[in-house]
Symmetry: C2
Subunit: 369 residues, 2 copies
Amino acid sequence: MSEMTSTQVTTASGRGTPARRPLPDAPFLAAARGETPSRVPVWFMRQAGRSLPEYRELRAGTPMLAACTDPGMLAEITLQPVRRHGVDAAILFSDIVVPLRAAGVDVDIVAGTGPVVANPVRSDADVANLPLLDPDQVSPVADGIRLLLGELADTPLIGFAGAPFTLASYLVEGGPSRNHERTKALMHAAPATWHALLDRLATVALTFLNVQVAAGVDAVQLFDSWAGALSEAEYREFVLPHSAKVLGGLADAGVPRIHFGVGTAELLPAMRSAGADVVGVDWRLPLDRAAARLRAAAPEAAEPVVQGNLDPAVLFAGSSVVAEQARRVAAEGRAAGGHVFNLGHGVLPDTDPDVLTRLVEVVHEQPVR
Amino acid sequence: MSEMTSTQVTTASGRGTPARRPLPDAPFLAAARGETPSRVPVWFMRQAGRSLPEYRELRAGTPMLAACTDPGMLAEITLQPVRRHGVDAAILFSDIVVPLRAAGVDVDIVAGTGPVVANPVRSDADVANLPLLDPDQVSPVADGIRLLLGELADTPLIGFAGAPFTLASYLVEGGPSRNHERTKALMHAAPATWHALLDRLATVALTFLNVQVAAGVDAVQLFDSWAGALSEAEYREFVLPHSAKVLGGLADAGVPRIHFGVGTAELLPAMRSAGADVVGVDWRLPLDRAAARLRAAAPEAAEPVVQGNLDPAVLFAGSSVVAEQARRVAAEGRAAGGHVFNLGHGVLPDTDPDVLTRLVEVVHEQPVR
């Protein structure tokens, strides 16, 4: 694959919806569909970005959200880990606040802090004023996806969006929060306001994912990073209907839908029932136990497919530990009956990229069944 | 109860181990022993401290760890929430790093950050140099406990210590950590070093708790705040033996032993098996489901007693929501078969103290069985 520069590519951003690439042999797509892949597919959440020196070089001087909406830069950053590690899927370089910012919300990503929202959303009036997303507002992302399709050969491209709850948490708190107290207070004290907010955010997320699907992504992942802060009862009442609107809205899109959150061992069946084809699992619950939990909760449903779940902190423990833990995860994935190898959360910033490359090799040596 | 000042009390700190107070009717102790209490007992983790204006006034100008080792001040801070809220137990005002600092570790609590360790512990030599605790080094805490026994009337006093894993996390990382990558790397890459470190920390925690028990506390809680960052397999291999050394070392002390961590729904049976009489549960898992999980894991054991688990964030949602959620927790506690009412984590700093006072009233109106 050739290296693209920002300049080269912003001028090359054409329009028009390409047909989705036929990728019948892609291991990632086979596994995500519940079929038997030719090898254990592996990709890493946050593989595109901060752990790679070539990323830091390319991004130097460019703010995060500008990089996410520069077609050439987002395409190049998305490609970098595919070239370097030989992973089985590319994940679109983006951020969960990209559609909010594109719609006109005053949000920025502050280095070392995370997303910061200038005017927190806490009242009915705030919710009514929250702009919806016009597809044209994220056309640079669609342009980037079209560039990627020409470069990725037979590697599938995963699109993504932040789920309504996690987006709401940033909007209500005004930024990252450890305890989500304002978010939970709004949810419980003003449920009508809460549901109106989440419905709006579901519309935004669905619009963004529809743009990505129309541009040609081969799968989507809905990230509900903070869902694990909730009890199952709260999740089912206050969150699930809205995530179901997003995932259900993509039921006929023809792409596998992955649904992931951290610390969600108790929520996995609910998160699946929102409309997920693949359920992401963090490192706290072995994949075979996660699959058993999903099966028990929906015995009539298709066999569950799980994704995960090597602890990203283990990547700091040296190559023999990484290989040993990767073999364990793969064995648990086989026992689960279907499996996409991933980390249990995103790649940590200080991760040595060579460790990820060797991990891909180890995963590819594991038996599929 | 009279208000004590620091000056008054440091001079009053006598020695000699008092007999433990007989408190046959204390609802907290009855519930903790698995008996039927006269009312639903309630106390709050972090009830002593930052949410109270009288605390902030008293603490003004005194560093955190100095306050924890001033007998009069720690006694007064411990008493404040008992006077104000009418809770069924006092929890010793302390911090998990108090025994480390007392033993000579260069650790301080930095406002807005948390514990910061000057020389992180990462090698065999670091572990060998880690000082053990001499009971005399925490005599101010024992003095404070003796002062408290004279003031608390029939309210039980809960002592506490940080569990080996959570202490290790601060020592290895050098301070608070979101992902615990150095801690987990050490655990997996150098298990002998890891176990030596945790064994030493277990000795420190047990020494500290033995001092508290000898001084007259009526129960103890072992806080393993970060245990929820681990998978069950990691917990059982790398942590449980050491927490079991602490709790097992108190088996004959004649006081109920509470064991608590956040995000530990998958770890509850393991945490009980470490030697807990009462298992603390955060807000993510209903108490009746927690008890069912404990029962299923140890069908031959005594009926489990659980503690928790109102989400501290709910205290920001207004009085009717708080009352409704408190009634739900109490009902789940009854369904669990035995229950100490608490929050699912510590009181958040911005909590309105009046909300806590009303919550105690609501809990005391709930039926016991």
